[in-house]
Symmetry: C3
Subunit: 438 residues, 3 copies
């Protein structure tokens, strides 16, 4: 990663602390062998539960029909490696859990190098990267290694060992409800099935854990539903149980993914494209970040595919840093904590998500109560001396009053004024206290 | 005509054959002395009837009031020429039927050259072209000739002879109904009143004849109403009889005009501008042709003026090659079969119209039946091995499923996917067979 | 003021005469010491009444609550000046009524130069300009002078004298109703509280007086409500009395301000932005003026703040020359009749406002009565001889007929045709007389 571009976002101490805490959590979670089911996933959820006591760990049994899908058996893996002609071991699962194709079945056989090639995966264009490969829904096995290592293999006899099995068990997810004054909910979803990769996808759950702590730190107007799910099958399973409730309550939602590096800001719209989630995301990105990549719905690739699917239609958008698929380290061992994800990047993402949530908390439909421009002067809100150029300071106040006709919400008014919606709260309260606005 | 620009349109054998057949038909129809009524028009319709047995030749008596118009008497012309001081004949109707002003009354008189000038028409800017001049609704006579020939005339005594008369008779048009499963109709109208000119307007009826043959070659979902009318008065007369039926049945229509050269693609919208006809025309022009001139409703000049008039409001647009009025040969003897219209140009137009009709046949409002993204993998529609970059092939399938929420028709979905709507039929049927879509 | 840019606006004699008359009126009104109340305001209204006999002078007592405001006491001023160490007088109100802060309270005290500075106002960036300063709603006093003069003051003893008082009295405004056939009204409002400044704001009332004379010179379809009010408090007071009536009757309105120079054309939209007032303003500016500055609602600064406020929502826009706040002389003594405002500038503004009112008078929703394109030829409205290029002259007529489907008003149709709506009246009447349109 070369030079980091500057953003217009100013971080306060608590955002910086959240970035450091998220990074620290990512380091702890790094070695756990996550997949869409199994012990590594459960260990990850347990660690999150230690930090977020209210987190409920949901269970869906293997074989369950969830919407159009069937929950697969659990995958247990104890060990895996290749042994070369001279007895040297490599592709050891203990060294890097990307070395084994996810959900590989057990094997302990000998192959010639030629035979072995059918079970090896590498990336010629990225010769130092171990690729991330899975085969959840068809039984096979395989090893992943750097292309450089693969090309150095000499002819001879190889032993392929994977000590794994598929057993009926359950699919797990984490759910944290933070109840506010209103039944209206914000959905924040992230995924926890990826093994040792950093931007995609330890950054998502580690950031969401910090947001959870912040959300729980003060009473909220809105309610929040935070989900830590295995990607695709997890959101499908959760929707299977909760789709009616979500459709009734969720006014905006975000899929948190790829939020840890500093190289870019990305916006992926909901399928509808103009929901409250889209509006607040674009609002904060414009006001606080400035420059970002505006992706198309066709560029999606995560749980929004389910949240926004026809008939489900939840208002879920994504604000990301370098989007999955767009950066070279994506889905390889190069997507490492060191060099890709930073505490600073996580802190900036925290700040942007916090601003989005603050804008949603502040959002309302203000309405001016007086007819005609109010006489601000007799309330001490207008300079008593009128002279060329002297009234610029109250311009924003008058514009706010003028736009507050009950047809626009606070985010729309803030867009007109060119400021962040959450910064208008003080002005709104002042006008309310003077009886000018409700 | 100089170099032919390439188009993105690939022609198959049947399109090429249609182009050749249309061109051959144009050669046969070339010498017939067409006008808005009379023997030449009838002979043209008879020739079309020979190819299209279902073609009905409609008759409206002279003097009939049709909407705001009155059907004029028939025009019969047997001979016409000018005879010069030395007895040489020129401007002979037998040599080129543009030499006589259309609907000229009879004359057999002698004039000095100066007197004669009042009855001559030529184009100083195009000195080799015989202009096309008509006077349908006011009695006069006149001769048309190249400006070069006109300037070479020597003073002397000239005889002007036109052996013509106006007699009560009838206005004729051709109507071909091709009935499909649905009462919903596509209107395809072209005009057959122009004498020997090629792009405007033998190309229109000759292309429409080939489209008729193709439409009749297989069962269709939609019904088709094909009209061969004298321009303006013919569509007025037809509307007079059928306006209520057309308004009830026609879901899209096109006025076929200037479809024979290879120099340009042109789109002229309906008056409303956003009808199904406009959408499918723009869709095919964008997906298959790429570069085309987007005209304004104000640039119209043919029967769409009637089809789209206030209170009639049929969804009729035009897809043309070089539009009337936009190319130098327009409305002169230079608009010849050789050098302007080509079998290739007609074949390309055939292909584009066929694509528009195929898209209309395929058009529907698909609806995804499963909640959430379907599990394509267990249906063999998704690669079982997930690795960086490996899912691009099923992207289109997932996008199709995602857009099919019942709010967009197939053409709109195809626009989102950047493909021709008719190419989605196979995918739609596959999804239907798996119960994923209806 | 340097070179005057040309405009596409052609002035006729009556517009030129109106410009001269408006300029002459401005010279007469120049010396009157206007404020938001008081003798100078009344004298101004009386002078306008002399020219416009129907003008009613309205009265609202001091202390009255009008909407959110309270009418202030009247301000009476007889004399004011500063006297320097050597007894020389300067800042004399008699010499320029900008020398005293508007609504200053009485004073007769001696100050050292240092003490005096707190009561002086000048503009360092415009050292030759006397600034315009007011303090309507908080009691204070002050003197305004050029920065050059202020810097030349020597230390010593100064006498500050203002012979003024604030007494209960009344707020005055002028109202002129010109009743036409219809109850629908056009609101034309301008303000009369500014002392000796020319573009902002003698140009407004002087132009409105000429428009009043022109409007009264012939019977009108629409009714007109012309207001001459002190800015802000005047429109508030008028709205307090008439808001229900205005909301019921006014279909379009304009705030006439800064209409006297020749350097620019400016458009300030209503709050809604798409009212009939906005549409006719943009129509005339596009068709007749061509180049103009399109301001935003946020750039407003006059009575439209009240007319368009939430809950009042009158359709009031502004067409100006150099907008208040945008030109260097604004709100200083440099905004003089000589050098800023010209009879030519006023004449051009008169012409543009007259065109807007003519378009509003002409505006209707024409509807073509025949089905299909009318046969214009048999009505002598179409050339009987059809030849390449010969029909351009009737193109506009056919387009008019084609757009007149009852869904667009005359201004919208004129926009499509690229002409001024008022110029279509003759064509409309011709088509009506032929029974083609109503």
């Amino acid at each position: 990663m070369s030079a980091l571009p500057l953003t217009g976002l100013l971080l306060n101490d608590s955002a910086r602390a959240a970035g450091v805490a998220a990074y620290q959590l990512a380091k702890e979670l790094w070695p756990l062998p996550r997949s869409i089911t199994g012990a590594g996933l459960r260990a990850t959820l347990k660690r999150l539960q230690a930090q977020l006591p209210g987190l409920r760990i949901g269970r869906v049994p293997s074989g369950a029909k969830v919407l159009d899908w069937i929950v697969p058996d659990e995958w247990e893996i104890r060990d895996a490696y290749l042994e070369g002609p001279d007895g040297e071991r490599f592709c050891e699962f203990k060294h890097h859990n990307l070395h084994v194709v996810g959900y590989s079945e057990a094997v302990d056989r000998h192959y010639s190098l030629d035979e072995l090639q059918a079970y090896l995966h590498s990336l010629p264009e990225q010769p130092d990267a171990i690729p991330y490969v899975t085969s959840y829904y068809q039984r096979r096995f395989g090893f992943c290694l750097s292309h450089r290592q693969r090309e150095a293999l000499r002819p001879g006899n190889y032993r392929a060992l994977i000590d794994a099995r598929h057993v009926p068990g359950e699919l797990n997810y984490g759910e944290l409800l933070i109840v506010g004054e209103s039944q209206q909910e914000i959905l924040l979803s992230t995924y926890v099935c990826h093994p040792s990769m950093a931007n995609n996808e330890l950054s998502g759950p580690c950031l969401l854990a910090q947001l959870a702590t912040w959300l729980a730190s003060a009473p909220r107007r809105l309610s929040y539903r935070l989900l830590f799910v295995p990607e695709m099958i997890g959101s499908i399973a959760y929707l299977h149980e909760h789709v009616r409730e979500l459709k009734a309550k969720v006014i905006a939602g975000f899929n948190l993914s790829c939020v840890g590096d500093e190289r870019a800001w990305s916006y992926l719209p909901s399928r509808a494209g103009n929901t409250l989630a889209d509006r607040v995301a674009l609002h904060v990105l414009k006001q606080s970040v400035g420059s970002f990549t505006h992706y198309h719905w066709r560029d999606r690739g995560s749980d929004e595919s389910n949240y926004c699917a026809p008939g489900i239609d939840l208002p879920v958008a994504s604000v990301m840093r370098s989007k999955y698929g767009s950066y070279p380290e994506y889905h390889t061992s190069l997507d490492a904590l060191e060099g890709v994800v930073t505490a600073q990047g996580l802190a900036q993402s925290f700040a942007v998500y916090r601003q989005m949530l603050e804008c949603l908390e502040a959002n309302c439909r203000p309405q001016t109560l007086v007819l005609g421009e109010p006489q601000l002067g007799r309330r001490g809100l207008y300079p008593s001396l009128s002279m060329k150029g002297s009234t610029d300071a109250v311009r924003q106040l008058l514009d706010f009053i003028s736009y507050a006709d009950g047809s626009m919400d606070l985010i729309e008014i803030a867009e007109q004024l060119g400021v962040l919606a959450s910064t208008l709260v003080g002005m709104l309260e002042k006008l309310q206290s003077h009886g000018i606005m409700r």
